[in-house]
Symmetry: C2
């Protein structure tokens, strides 16, 4: 396998390192804006040098972001090259275009590292689907949010200090919006549901609530009730109906999710035969992420195309009822739906996920967290 | 794929059910001592009916125990049939005979369900080894022991009542020796190290301590120090040296292992690229176990032979130093190695795993538990 590697940042360098000693694949060209010198490898600033190289059969995209990653990946597929990427925003956004295009061309398109970093999550779903139906997917999919929530819970930090510490340690970006508002988890949730259920979710129907408005007083409230707050994604497929959402969720102290420390991920599927299966590991980092990129390359050598059929476009129907912790301005709807009061916050009566997120959209200053049952 | 199924108990029936709706494989004959009637399937009491049927390309062994499972499996391989089994005692005991024999014949030998039930553990190790070196394997591998320890910790049961409850719920056998003395975990630990490190461990060099001598007062002692007792297997490969052992281990409350409830398993490998990866799920049960048996059949269709080379015979060298909780008759060696006293028990100075297990052999009434660092 002759690889054209797009990007030579944290993940790109990791991929290069892991492939260096292999005999079944080699990186022959690297697209990189900086001047670097790599033995036996042509480094270029022009993507066309890779696109037009007929020796290159596989493009590994490690640039990140939507553009120009999308244009490059699309052109690579059109030119007959397999694609491996860790870019969840790219795949979640252009799922219904890129996957069918690769399939039509008889090429492989793999993105295992896009969810769970070092956890072989999408590959696991692919394997699981050989034998059974998957009924549920989800869990803790963002290391930044977990790091912040864990610092607040275990060390008593407030949100600002927890975020600052995460930034200092390299676990959060200078602009943390994508992580703390749940967008990163949302991309991963959509991708997981698509692969697990063999569908193509309409992302506009998948609501997301992040953690940026959580306060130290909320965490104190949770602790007093034996609860730990985690940002959790959920996808369910029941009787032909799909529900999917991302929201802060309160789990009981002692449950597996409550014990996930620092920037780790814990992702779970429930299968009709296997029951609950969970995967715990580094959700990011150079070598864990690069590890799954190289695993994907090994699977391309075995001609593993994509994880599941890219099925029909499906709208999520979030009619499940849950109880919520809500801290925010009380209006008549909230008062009507209040079951208990916890300090300045309330615990709601069971309300539909959809209704809760509609209310949240109109009360962007509020913080909500679902109570896991 | 035409399958001869040996045994029609809990797992055998599960395999039959999961295969019934598939087009890529079918059960054509079942070996069963009882008179059962299955549509389109020949049920026989004579193994030769399966052995001599040249249409049958794969034998699924779901009898359990060493004999006659060993004789049947060996004969099947010699007759040119692939073998899939969930029998860890069989595979751990006859590893250096059966695996090379299957390899020599160019056949597949798979046993994913032998460790972790529904967790695709051995398959994961096989996948991990494609890209990296595995440095460590182990964890909670026996649901019976975890159920008993969990009942003692969470519900305050004493050992006898916890075992009785586990038996009533079907989580422990009438004779629980194999589970509670750690033999089952020991088989799984040996098998995991063999596959992960590409070796063939000399089982006589792998010490095991079980949980049958734990008392409610021990658990109270652990709780008072924020610790939870779990039966944990360890295999490590460092600088060409292998260490491997099974022993009760004290983990801090809040660590992932401490949160594993009921009859669940939590198994971990540490890879040179991926870092720590853990797998959590049902360690047993009809469908979780049958699920991985059928996964193995799907992998036989892809001609996946065995998980790793069956390397040279290796002795474990358990020279790692650990601190131990020890409750038992105090002799001069123990007094010399005492660092603290916890009620009627002591916490030792750091001593080698090997030395601790030699002492335990001479003090079979004692209970020991290692302190995880």
């Amino acid at each position: 396998m002759k690889i054209g590697l797009l990007g030579f940042g944290v993940v790109g360098q990791g991929v290069y390192d892991l492939i260096a000693s292999r005999e079944d694949m080699s990186v022959v060209k690297v697209l990189c804006r900086k001047d670097v010198s790599l033995p036996g490898v042509q480094v270029t600033k022009d993507f066309n040098d890779i696109l037009n190289d007929s020796d290159i059969d596989t493009v590994v995209e490690a640039i990140g972001g939507l553009h120009p990653a999308y244009e490059f990946v699309k052109a690579a597929i059109e030119a007959g090259k397999n694609v491996v990427t860790a870019n969840k925003a790219l795949v979640a956004t252009f799922y219904d275009e890129l996957i069918p295009l690769a399939k039509e061309k008889g090429l492989c398109f793999r993105c295992t590292a896009a969810v769970g970093g070092g956890i072989g999550w999408l590959s696991e779903l692919e394997r699981a689907r050989r034998i059974q139906t998957i009924e549920k997917v989800g869990g803790i999919m963002n290391g930044t949010c977990n790091y912040i929530l864990d610092s607040m819970t275990r060390l008593g930090f407030d949100y600002t200090n927890a975020l600052k510490q995460a930034q200092e340690l390299g676990y959060a970006e200078a602009d943390p919006t994508t992580d703390v508002e749940g967008i990163d988890t949302w991309h991963k949730a959509i991708l997981s549901s698509n692969v697990a259920f063999g569908i193509c979710l309409d992302s506009a129907t998948v609501p997301v609530a992040g953690i940026s408005r959580i306060q130290a007083t909320d965490v104190e409230n949770f602790k007093a009730h034996g609860l730990v707050c985690k940002l959790i994604s959920t996808g369910m497929f029941t009787k032909g109906k799909v529900s999917a959402y991302v929201q802060p969720t309160l789990v009981k102290f002692g449950e597996p999710e409550s014990a996930v420390p620092a920037n780790y991920n814990l992702i779970t599927f429930v299968g009709s035969a296997s029951g609950r299966m969970s995967f715990y590991g580094q959700g990011a980092g150079r070598y864990p992420t690069a590890y799954n990129v190289v695993q994907d390359c090994a699977d391309v050598l075995l001609d593993k195309g994509f994880y599941s059929p890219c099925g029909e476009k499906v709208k999520a129907e979030n009619t499940d009822f849950m109880r919520y912790y809500v801290r925010g301005e009380k209006d008549s709807w909230l008062e009507e739906n209040t079951a208990e009061t916890w300090g300045t916050a309330i615990i709601s009566k069971p309300i539909s996920v959809e209704a809760m997120h509609v209310w949240l959209k109109n009360h962007p200053e509020a913080f909500i967290a679902a109570l896991a049952e």
